[in-house]
């Protein structure tokens, strides 16, 4: 199908984009378009106006910070895969980004877009929750930071206001090894289940995606040496997950992805 008609505006800076969002209450931000445009093509989304931010070059930069990296909202997924600074500073971010869609989609899709869209099976929201990133948003009041752990509410729902724009993501360098694993039917599909595991010596955390309405992070302590016992420990953690139906299918997958992500964090494959 074809999208419904809309007014098109090209913003030349973030302040102007926020001003347009104020002025046109039904407007949506257009960045890479890889989530929004399919919805529009099927008329599941019919914004009256689009504010195109893809020409704002200062939002497309990756900058090192004292604690890690600052990613502009317009950084493309393929940039995360290819960028040497990302691979060096936050390798799990490059690894997770390689699992997003297919090459042609990664060439267009943006970090900010993926976070604002908040698909429960998407990789980047989970990475941000796992690593404790801050999402820098701008609205009429100015810039503020929302911790990723307070950003994702549920299916396609965030605490970002409809008049606010994501301008950047501030990511700390992980202190501990982080493993990533997801189960997909075909490479490039949305994950049926996925997990990131931070693995310290005796403590750590697991962040699940694809199994609950939004990414969920839980701490763990004293994991067993034996894989069978560890699986029981993961299983106990999954009892606090809201599987939103389909529990019999999702719980064993959640255990498996957590275990495999843990093994990867520990350097196995």
């Amino acid at each position: 199908m074809k999208p419904a008609a809309f007014e098109y505006f090209r913003a030349s800076n973030a302040v102007q984009a926020v001003g347009l969002l104020q002025q046109y209450r039904e407007a949506k931000i257009l960045a890479g378009g890889q989530s929004l445009v399919p919805l529009m093509n099927f008329r599941l989304s019919r914004p009256s106006a689009l504010v195109d931010i893809s020409g704002i070059t200062e939002l497309a930069r990756i900058v090192p910070t004292a604690h890690g990296l600052r990613l502009g909202a317009l950084v493309r997924h393929q940039d995360l895969v290819d960028n040497p600074m990302v691979r060096e500073t936050i390798p799990v971010l490059a690894e997770a980004a390689a699992h997003i869609g297919h090459w042609a989609v990664r060439n267009r899709g943006t970090v900010g877009g993926s976070l604002a869209h908040a698909d429960p099976a998407a990789e980047l929201p989970a990475v941000m929750v796992a690593l404790g990133a801050d999402i820098v948003v701008m609205d009429a009041e100015g810039e503020r930071k929302i911790p990723a752990r307070a950003f994702f509410v549920g299916f396609y729902t965030t605490t970002l206001g409809s008049d606010a724009l994501i301008v950047a993501i501030e990511m700390p360098r992980p202190r501990e090894p982080v493993g990533f694993y997801e189960v997909v039917r075909r490479h490039g599909d949305f994950a049926l289940a996925g997990a990131l595991v931070e693995a310290g010596e005796s403590t750590g955390a697991v962040t699940w995606f694809g199994v609950t309405p939004a990414p969920v992070r839980m701490a763990w302590t004293a994991l067993a040496e034996d894989e069978g016992l560890r699986r029981q420990q993961w299983e106990r953690l999954t009892r606090d997950l809201d599987f939103a139906g389909d529990e019999a299918f999702r719980r064993p997958l959640a255990v498996t992805v957590a275990e495999r992500a843990y093994q990867r964090a520990r350097g196995g494959h």
């Binding site: 074809k2 378009g33 445009v37 529009m40 893809s54 075909r186």
Partner: protein, 162 residues
Amino acid sequence: MVETTRIELLVNGERLTADVEPRWSLADVLRHQLGLLGTHVGCEQGVCGACTVLLNGEPARSCLIFAVAVADGVAITTIEGMNRAEGMTPLQTALREHHGLQCGFCTPGMVLTAHALLTREPEADEGRIREALSGNLCRCTGYQFIVDAVAAARPAYRKEEP
């Protein structure tokens, strides 16, 4: 009557103008305004890859891009831009020799994606070829012959672009 905007697109090295509604996809503008029918429109949701074009040499879904939003100076390559005066390119010849197409619906997207890959990575192994082509669906061939053809075209990319 919805207002149209005049845009200029750099397609296959030529500057072309079109009057477009903002809601028109690049795929539809290429086909219906510019008459470049080699860009095929399958799913219109970014899944099938039939509408793949190259933007500055990188594959992109033209069904998920509004023509009005294509930045000035971005070089668009469609399958028509792969034509050579001397005939088919080595990649296209390899597809024919390896029976890498039947109905041909997916072929323009396959050729452009494979061309972009081999231009970047002339030594791409079979795993890389499969990964790069995984975003292009083919309902005829079962993929093996396409992968064989792309692998066979690698030598042509080692020296210079065909």
